[in-house]
């Protein structure tokens, strides 16, 4: 779907609060704009973002057209154990893009 930039620390101490930053390239077309012929440009946005940590949901966002193009999100989670952090973006077309990063907790 699109290129995603993800920033998660590779290593963290157990119990530390870590920051996860994500940016995905997407036009976030609002559905309120018109093209040069005056025809409405259909809405096409990412409406849902979910972050799971070893399968447990730690953060979720419902997004609306008021979110800027190339949606950027940053949030926090507690580094509980080594494993996978999975980030997925779901668009209006129903397609989901999932990216996985690994984290080592010492």
């Amino acid at each position: 779907m699109a290129r995603a930039l993800i920033n998660v620390p590779k290593q963290a101490k157990r119990g530390d609060v870590i920051e996860i930053k994500t940016l995905v390239s997407h036009p976030m077309e609002t559905g309120y704009r018109r093209d040069s012929m005056g025809k409405a440009i259909p809405r096409d946005i990412i409406n849902r973002f979910v972050c799971t940590y070893n399968g447990v949901e730690v953060f979720r966002a419902d997004l609306f057209p008021a979110i800027a193009a190339n949606p950027f999100l940053s949030f926090h989670t507690v580094a509980t154990e080594s494993g996978e952090i999975k980030l997925s973006w779901t668009g209006d077309d129903g397609n989901t893009q999932t990216e996985t990063v690994n984290i080592t907790v010492v």
Binding site: V17, T30, R33, A61, P65, A66, I67, P71, F75, T77
Partner: protein, 164 residues
């Protein structure tokens, strides 16, 4: 010659002062008179309806949540916003959701963030669009069911959502 210069200077000073005196305090009022009045009222009503739908009959108190957004925005297409909620984020006392609303974009909702005790810290940042000079509101729902809010009035010089 000298007199001329003085008068011109005085003229500029006086008119500049008048413009400043007339322009700045009226900015807020000017938007609410004339053709914009009905639209403004509709926008405020819609915002209230959206907030009401979220909180129901519960009271929304000011505090515990801080919305950080620039007060003066040059480009409304990407406005950085940060929400920080004062909460220990434990199993017993944490922030469940953070909701961002606006007054004058085509839709009142901006984003809903769902958190939990696993978040560790209730701090979320993103970037939003602003179609006009308006108020942005953040509401946090705590695990005990209470709602807390913060709002910021943002002045936008170049609006988003208009034709490119």
């Amino acid at each position: 010659m000298t007199e001329h210069l003085t008068t011109r200077r005085q003229f500029i000073v006086v008119t500049g002062g008048l413009i400043a005196a007339a322009g700045i305090p009226e900015r807020g009022d000017a938007q609410s008179i004339g053709g914009n009045a009905a639209r403004n009222e509709a926008a405020v009503a819609r915002l209230e309806a959206a907030v009401r739908e979220l909180v129901g009959e519960s009271p929304v108190k000011a505090g515990r949540i801080k919305l950080d957004i620039p007060l003066l925005v040059e480009n409304g297409n990407a406005v950085p916003l940060a929400v920080t909620v004062d909460s220990p984020m434990t199993e017993a006392d944490h922030v469940k959701t953070i909701h961002i609303f606006n007054e004058k974009n085509p839709q009142p909702n901006v984003a809903n963030f769902h958190l939990g005790p696993r978040a560790g810290r209730a701090h979320v940042t993103s970037r939003m669009r602003l179609a006009d000079t308006q108020k942005v509101i953040a509401i946090a729902q705590f695990s005990d069911g209470s709602f807390w809010s913060d709002s910021v009035d943002v002045v936008v010089t170049l609006a988003a959502c208009l034709e490119d």
